[in-house]
């Protein structure tokens, strides 16, 4: 009988967590990790923050020696080009073909590329190589323009300003972080960027781009041209689902998986940014592109791959650091109904809760990490919350847990 082999496609933090999880749970078969990048898995969150400012040390999740100690075969700098579900094999860009007993797809996402927005002076940010290039360009720049006022754009503008550069954010929607935070909270973030000196231009259509003689770009907007030494484009992502799709796995805005990370085909799983996961607790699919979720996915899929049927119930959580401010969110981070505010928008210390009846669905917070910790725990257990209770800062959020809730 041959040793079972698990093949992991993708080299992000979720892959590393899955590999670590498999060994921790006692899997002693073969593990092969395939990554198109020529570097072992690394942390992406610093790439748009400390790394750009030259303040981060190593960003590797585990150093290369760890993979050797754990007998994990690394196939780096190679792309998985074809998946044969009937034959249980993956073909790689170097021509080799690898058989698997179980397959984990953690192929992540790539930046959405805008047609006509490319060429010298234009940067997209996803990989550590992108970040190294951007760091050098920002270092040499006087003016950094950012297209897209999402998390990447806001964090890059923040880093550029902290490096003493001028920064301009061009955003088509009415505020920054509009999709993630909604108009009211997005406006708070726009205000703090403006206060820090960022030229925030919302409601801006970018019509084109021309290179400037001597370097840099001229960006044509509805309000006239903007000249910058570097333009960073952060306008969303596209899930890397083609490998799965070509093999016939169901996809649709990501690779479709159930709450156990199982695809429609036995022994084939997907996690991380690329996984569109049906969660019964939410009553629908979610695809989450945040670091903490990828790590939790990785650990949880390892247990499922080894036969423990364990549905994913972890509460989604993320953070973003901009200037001296920390945005955090737990639960379903989407702003649909009215928000209940604890704290003060004006003082930039608040938590905005969304409720479903007397249950918390999610929280978005500025500079109140403690609220988010408490809310995250409440969401995971039985609780009752009223609007008045949430607004009352003298009432610890912990008290909203139902008395019957089991104490671990």
């Amino acid at each position: 009988m041959s040793t079972p082999r698990i093949v992991v496609v993708g080299g992000g933090a979720g892959s590393a967590a899955a590999v670590a999880g498999l060994r921790q749970e006692g899997f002693d078969g073969e593990i092969t990790l395939i990554s198109a990048e020529d570097i072992v898995p690394y942390e992406r969150p610093p790439l748009s923050k400390d790394y750009l400012m030259g303040r981060s040390g190593s960003v590797l999740v585990k150093d290369p020696a760890w993979y050797e100690q754990q007998s994990v075969e690394l196939l780096l700098g190679r792309r998985a080009t074809r998946l044969d579900l009937a034959g249980s094999t993956v073909a790689l860009s170097d021509g080799s073909v690898i058989g698997y007993d179980q397959l984990l797809l953690a192929t992540g996402v790539r930046p959405r590329v805008l047609p006509g927005i490319d060429g010298d002076g234009v940067c997209y940010l996803r990989t550590v190589r992108d970040a190294a290039e951007l760091r050098d360009r920002i270092g040499a720049a006087g003016h950094v323009a950012v297209l897209g006022g999402g998390f990447i754009g806001c964090e890059v503008a923040s880093a550029a300003m902290q490096l003493g550069k001028r920064a301009t954010i061009l955003e088509a929607l009415p505020t920054l972080l509009h999709r993630a935070l909604g108009p009211d909270l997005g406006e708070v973030v726009a205000a703090l960027h403006r206060e820090a000196g960022v030229d925030v231009r919302t409601g801006q259509q970018v019509n084109g781009l021309t290179p400037r003689p001597g370097g840099g770009v001229r960006i044509t907007t509805g309000d006239g041209p903007v000249d910058a030494d570097v333009l960073v484009v952060g306008v969303g992502t596209v899930p890397n689902q083609e490998l799965a799709e070509q093999a016939g796995l169901p996809v649709g805005g990501g690779i479709l998986v159930d709450e156990h990370f199982a695809t429609a085909v036995p022994r084939v799983w997907a996690v991380g940014d690329v996984a569109s996961q049906h969660l019964p607790g939410y009553g629908r699919r979610v695809r989450v592109e945040h670091h903490d979720t990828a790590l939790r996915h990785g650990r949880a899929v390892a247990r499922n791959m080894l036969g423990q049927r364990e549905p994913f119930r972890d509460v989604h959580w993320f953070w973003s650091d901009q200037f001296e401010h920390t945005i955090q969110s737990a639960g379903l981070a989407e702003v649909t109904g009215p928000l209940v505010i604890r704290g003060s928008l004006e003082q930039r210390s608040f938590s905005a809760f969304s409720l479903d009846g007397d249950r918390l669905r999610g929280v978005i917070s500025l500079n109140r990490p403690r609220d988010v910790l408490d809310a995250r725990r409440l969401i995971a257990r039985d609780h009752h919350a009223t609007v008045d209770q949430l607004r009352d800062e003298s009432l610890p959020l912990k008290r909203l847990a139902s008395p019957a809730a089991p104490v671990p």
């Binding site: 670590a20 585990k62 903490d292 953070w319 403690r370 988010v372 910790l373």
Partner: protein, 105 residues
């Protein structure tokens, strides 16, 4: 090697399941009480030096509020990630309940 025990707060002011920070010779020290076992650590998370006293202690699990790194509050060992570790200081409780901390200076 000399060891210097600094008196801090009294055990009466640190209930089981509670944590607090004290300043010892300019160093912010986190004191935790897990089921009567008192431990002292640097208040700085090994990840990015965030203040651990703004986080959460739940049973034996200490969670940093900044990026959700988790530690075993009794051993100081990382849970997630498991290769991190809190900076530990000497700690003992006197007969009168005084909590003494040795930060190495």
């Amino acid at each position: 090697m000399t060891s210097r025990w600094h008196d801090t707060i009294n055990l009466d002011d640190l209930w089981e399941g509670d944590m607090t920070s004290v300043v010892v010779d300019g160093e912010v020290v986190l004191l935790v009480n897990v089921d009567g076992t008192v431990r002292a650590y640097s208040n700085r998370c090994p990840h990015q030096a965030s203040a651990l006293d703004e986080g959460d202690l739940d049973g034996e699990t200490l969670t940093c509020a900044k990026h959700l790194w988790e530690f075993n509050a009794v051993t100081g060992c990382g849970i997630n990630p498991d290769d991190a570790r809190l900076t530990s200081f000497g700690c003992q409780v006197g007969d009168d309940g005084t909590i003494y901390v040795d930060i190495g200076r």
